[in-house]
């Protein structure tokens, strides 16, 4: 009995001594859709940011302090997200990475901004998020108006005279379709079809039949990859051969799995460059490290963009030797120039938007691989 007590006392003594020895950790939050219909994107975000955190700690942490990641699930739902953001602010985080959907991010922006927490969103491309004059909001993904410009040029490049635009009624998808629609109309391109499908369904034959009846030369779908895959597959089943184009929410290898190689071949979409197309040694090393830890290469560009969010925060903390939101903001806006991200060079403008031409055009080849187009 006595011995047990001694052991217990020893154990208690050790465990209470441990935190005193190490410095107070710097807490960084991650807000991601770990459950719900975007769960696959959220899980990928978590993997990337956890890998970055582990690497940062292996290098000795930030400012000599270990980094602690606080992960909150937003469920892909604005209400859940606002509660999660409140929990993050009370847990004492310096910055928050995330989140994915634009409407979800919008629900958290003011909460984090008022609490003086830097937010770096990774997938929220809606234009209005950075038009509110918020001081602490940044994003590593581009904006829909830039994507709209690139999309409209791509449509003109394929010399289409009858264009169909299809969205899925989400804030992102409709916003992008509206951008493209306005640009095409200004350039006198005939938009013969503009409508929305209901996401999460399996059968899109009714929409495809109607689309076909409108007789377009090209169809631009601004939604997400699960629906895009089904559209391509069912289009092939119908024996319809019109070319399909898509936006950056389609950049996921599962597209080819869902559609099948034959149906996906020739499909073109816009996206920031995927990690394997970045010819920097850092990006290659990162893909290798990711592969080693998780047994597969990163499949979602948004997971990598979340990882880049972590890296710009880490860089800002190290450069300013501070964890104060205003100091970090000043550095991100004024000090950070052409930071070598895993998704290309990163700089921010005063609005918090990433600057530079990010979008590339990808095409699915016969093997189902995404080929960067010149």
């Amino acid at each position: 009995m006595k011995r047990t007590l001694t052991v217990l006392a020893l154990a208690l003594g050790l465990s209470s001594a441990a935190p005193a020895a190490a410095a107070d950790p710097i807490k960084i939050g991650l807000l991601a859709p770990l459950t719900g219909s975007w769960a696959s994107e959220g899980q990928e975000m978590k993997r990337n940011v956890e890998l970055q955190t582990a690497e940062a700690n292996a290098r000795g942490g930030l400012l000599g302090r270990p980094v602690e990641l606080v992960v909150e699930d937003d469920g892909g739902d604005p209400r859940t997200a606002s509660l999660a953001a409140q929990r993050l602010t009370t847990s004492g985080v310096v910055a928050v990475i995330g989140t994915y959907g634009s409407a979800v991010t919008e629900a958290t922006q003011n909460i984090l901004d008022e609490a003086g927490v830097i937010q770096v969103a990774n997938g929220s491309t809606a234009v209005r998020l950075t038009e509110k004059g918020l001081q602490h909001f940044f994003r590593t993904c581009p904006r829909d108006d830039e994507q709209g410009r690139v999309g409209a040029s791509l449509i003109q490049k394929v010399k289409a005279s009858r264009v169909a635009l299809l969205h899925d009624n989400s804030a992102y998808s409709k916003g992008l379709a509206d951008e493209i629609d306005a640009l095409l109309k200004a350039r006198n391109v005939n938009v013969v079809f503009f409508d929305a499908l209901t996401p999460k369904e399996q059968d899109y034959s009714a929409i495809l039949t109607k689309l076909k009846a409108a007789g377009p030369d090209v169809v631009f779908f601004t939604g997400y990859y699960p629906e895009a895959g089904l559209l391509l597959k069912q289009k092939r089943q119908m024996g319809w051969t019109v070319p399909f184009l898509g936006g950056d929410a389609i950049n996921n290898p599962d597209l080819v799995k869902i559609a099948g190689k034959e149906a996906a071949q020739g499909f073109r979409f816009l996206s920031p460059p995927i990690p394997s197309d970045l010819d920097t040694p850092e990006a290659r090393a990162y893909v290798a490290a990711y592969q080693k830890k998780y047994g597969e290469a990163p499949s979602s560009i948004y997971g990598v963009l979340a990882g880049d969010g972590f890296r710009v925060i880490a860089r800002a903390i190290e450069a300013t030797k501070s964890v104060k939101a205003d100091a970090l903001r000043d550095y991100l806006v004024g000090g950070l120039k052409d930071f070598p991200g895993y998704t290309g060079k990163i700089s921010f403008n005063a609005k918090g938007d990433r600057v530079g031409e990010l979008y590339r055009v990808y095409q699915v080849d016969a093997e189902g691989r995404f080929q960067l187009q010149p």
Partner: protein, 299 residues
């Protein structure tokens, strides 16, 4: 021409709704309970089908036709087992409690089943192997994929067997008697618990078969797919008159066709709104659904 193509599109979607709606309506018939976990049983059918397809490879050993038939029977059996366990664990303990307890229990079961699936298979979309021919039929300029027609025929055949079973066999009579009045049925010597168990075999088996059909036809499945199909099938059951078996079939097919035609001639984005508008109009004229019977209030 678009009209007939859309009609076939609608019938294919509607026959899936109808198969799932049967599960809602049969459970409601005997228990006066909406089994909110039924949509998830449908998802389990799809996932079990995918797993068995990949692990047993029956289609390679026995040929596609016989292999798929055997696979369908196994999937229906397994989902039926889940249904029976669900009834025993989630519904029987609260059968005599206020009705709200059963509804909460059903919602809880749904959340549990859905997230269990996510933990087992992960959150990513899963894909069925391409087994079935993607050919289409060209008749009189109509272009109809063969798979769609097969889905409609298989569903209608299963529903016909069910109707024969319920109308012509002693067990079917027991189900009908329990639906009319459980306590009177018990007094007449019917084992009500056995009838309820039977309903939780048939409903989930049909739902599981629908899941397998969706997986084979569309290829892509996700752990949340049961939600939207469940909602639509529940709507179809109400439309046809909840508790009424032919009503669920008519409701499902009608809902599918209204959706397709609404998408074709009005607006794709408003397709669901149009379908629900039709539901509301029908319920205003016939509050108990298309084939639902008017039951006088018990005094």
């Amino acid at each position: 021409m678009q009209f007939f193509e859309q009609l076939v599109n609608g019938l294919a979607v509607g026959s899936i709704y109808a198969l799932i709606a049967l599960g809602y309506t049969m459970v409601y018939g005997v228990l006066k309970l909406i089994n909110f976990a039924h949509g998830d049983l449908f998802t389990y059918g799809a996932y079990l089908g995918m797993t068995l397809l990949a692990s047993l490879a029956l289609q390679d050993r026995l040929g596609v036709g016989l292999g798929l038939l055997l696979l369908a029977l196994m999937v229906m059996g397994l989902v039926a087992v889940i249904g029976v366990v669900l009834e025993r664990v989630a519904y029987r303990p609260v059968r005599n409690s206020p009705r709200l307890s059963a509804v909460v229990s059903a919602l809880g079961a749904s959340v549990f089943l859905q997230n269990a699936l996510m933990l087992i298979y992960g959150a990513r979309y899963q894909v069925f192997p391409d087994l079935l021919p993607q050919t289409a039929l060209d008749i009189f300029g109509l272009h109809v994929p063969l798979l769609r027609i097969a889905v409609v025929l298989i569903s209608v055949a299963m529903m016909a067997v069910l109707v024969l079973f319920v109308q012509r066999t002693r067990l079917g009579a027991a189900i009908r008697a329990t639906a009319i009045d459980p306590s009177a049925a018990q007094l007449m010597g019917i084992d009500v618990n056995r009838v309820i168990r039977l309903v939780f075999v048939i409903g989930p088996a049909l739902g599981g078969a629908a899941g397998l059909l969706v997986g084979l036809t569309y290829g892509q499945i996700s752990f949340t797919m049961g939600w939207i199909y469940g909602m639509k099938a529940f709507t179809a059951a109400i439309l046809g008159g909840i508790g009424n078996i032919p009503g669920a079939m008519v409701g499902g097919l009608l809902l599918g066709v209204v959706e397709a035609l609404g998408a074709a001639y009005l607006s794709v984005a408003w397709k669901d709104a149009i379908a629900f508008l039709v539901l509301i109009l029908i319920l205003i004229v016939r509050p108990s659904g298309l084939l639902g019977e008017r039951v006088a209030d018990k005094v």
